[in-house]
């Protein structure tokens, strides 16, 4: 694992280079880079080798996600989406669908997952998107918001109501009736290609319906989200690591009142807090990945815990790093300025702080007295 991970990190480092600042300012990732990383299997590294993937374990992929997250949260968001799409297909698709779609996702095609609606975020009962059977076809109608990576996606994995349950349907972004409206000027992850997507009478072959549909809505939602939460959590570890690295480098070099910043006690405390954040976030993510790898039922709660703890640490660490770098980091595009905006979004997506706390509180009540 270590050697493979080192190779993947080197590949990412080489392809990404020093460009994330300019991607952030431009609000766009180079699509060629995404296709290239996709073709290497790096964007959904946990896809098993029999389907053309790298077959990475959860922790291995986590470290890779943290590596990407430390460089560019927009790119890491694409990785999260691609991974969620692949995991949903692997879990809910039949054997033919798994082979067909996962081969695409590991050979350069890009996928986004379309779940949220303007009235239905965590409240699934408000979901309106409909998938109707119509002869040999299915017809999709609905509107999804804030679909990460939709701008770059070849395929959209869309959650909708189906029969008396729900289903995931795989929709080519080029299908007639699919319309994208980019989210203008997002606060963070500015190059992640967030779009609102409208589906008007989109007709697809019935074979686009994962596993024939008719599945449980909460099950579909939680399964995909569980992967997404672990991925975001590791991405937040990356944000914290980038902040720790930028703050310590600056505090070592920058002199104030005749000594390096690091020797001023109030600044030193910031560095200590960054180190604590990096260690805590890493450990809680490792725990979630271990639960995932051992297929423990606790993985669902462990993923929420990891996401919540890591996102909170990322947001606080980014604020701390901006404070330490002060004017040196206070411009758009700078690694700590990006972290500051990107980390705030991490406290909102894949279950806001408040939703995570509700889930954790519910879990607390199931623990025997």
């Amino acid at each position: 694992m270590r050697e493979q991970l080192a190779n993947e990190r080197a590949l990412v480092g080489e392809l990404v280079g020093d460009q994330p600042g300019s991607w952030d300012l431009a609000g766009e990732l180079p699509i060629g880079l995404l296709h290239k990383l996709g073709a290497h299997g790096v964007l959904c590294a946990e896809v098993p080798a029999i389907y053309g993937g790298l077959g990475a374990g959860s922790q291995h992929n986590g470290e890779l996600t943290a590596c990407v997250g430390s460089l560019c949260s927009s790119l890491r968001s694409i990785m999260t989406s691609q991974g969620m799409a692949a995991w949903s297909i692997q879990r809910f698709g039949d054997q033919g669908q798994r082979h067909r779609y996962l081969a695409s996702l590991t050979s350069g095609q890009l996928a986004a997952v379309a779940f949220s609606e303007s009235e239905a975020g965590s409240d699934l009962s408000a979901m309106r998107t409909q998938i109707r059977a119509c002869g040999d076809s299915v017809v999709l109608d609905g509107q999804k918001i804030w679909v990460t990576g939709a701008r770059y996606a070849d395929l959209l994995v869309v959650l909708g109501l189906h029969g008396d349950g729900a289903a995931l349907v795989v929709v080519p972004a080029s299908a007639p009736g699919v319309r994208l409206e980019p989210v203008a000027d997002p606060l963070g992850c500015r190059a992640a290609g967030h779009s609102h997507v409208r589906f008007d009478n989109v007709r697809l072959p019935a074979s686009s319906l994962l596993g024939g549909g008719g599945q449980s809505l909460p099950l579909l939602f939680t399964t995909a989200l569980c992967y997404g939460r672990i991925s975001v959590a590791w991405g937040c570890v990356g944000i914290v690591r980038a902040c720790l690295s930028a703050a310590t480098a600056h505090a070592r070099r920058r002199q104030q009142s005749g000594k390096p910043l690091a020797q001023h006690q109030l600044v030193a405390r910031h560095l200590a807090e960054l180190l604590v954040a990096e260690q805590v976030a890493t450990r809680v993510c490792e725990h979630a990945s271990r639960c995932w790898a051992s297929a423990s039922p606790d993985m669902v709660v462990a993923a929420v815990l990891a996401k919540h703890v890591s996102a909170g640490h990322a947001a606080r660490s980014a604020a701390t790093a901006v404070q330490v770098l002060a004017s040196a980091g206070a411009r758009d595009g700078h690694v700590v300025a990006r972290a500051f905006r990107d980390a705030k979004l991490m406290e909102i997506i894949e279950g806001s702080n408040e939703i995570c706390q509700l889930i954790l509180a519910q879990h607390a009540l199931t623990i025997p007295e």
Partner: protein
């Protein structure tokens, strides 16, 4: 597999009893074997997936693709049938 898991006898009665006690412990309510878990609101979005993972781990089965249909999880009896069918198919 742990020693504990391999010793669970896989008969309909045993699967059903184990599921009923798992549910009683996790949802803090007593559940009837034919009760609609989704209709009664007992199964939260978090818990549905825990149930799947629990069944896979306890009975060494893979529940994927079309098997994840709602009807297979609607009641304890339905889940019991699913477990027995998947064990037969793999055995």
């Amino acid at each position: 597999m742990t020693a504990e898991q391999t010793t669970i006898p896989v008969t309909a009665e045993a699967v059903e009893d184990a599921l009923l006690s798992f549910l009683a412990e996790r949802v803090k309510a007593s559940v009837a074997p034919d009760q609609d878990l989704f209709g009664s609101g007992l199964v939260s979005s978090m818990f549905a997936m825990q149930l799947v993972v629990h069944l896979e781990e306890s009975y060494d089965i893979a529940i994927i693709g079309p098997e994840l249909k709602l009807d297979n999880f609607r009641t304890v009896q339905a889940m019991t049938r699913l477990v027995l069918r998947l064990r037969d198919a793999s055995g």
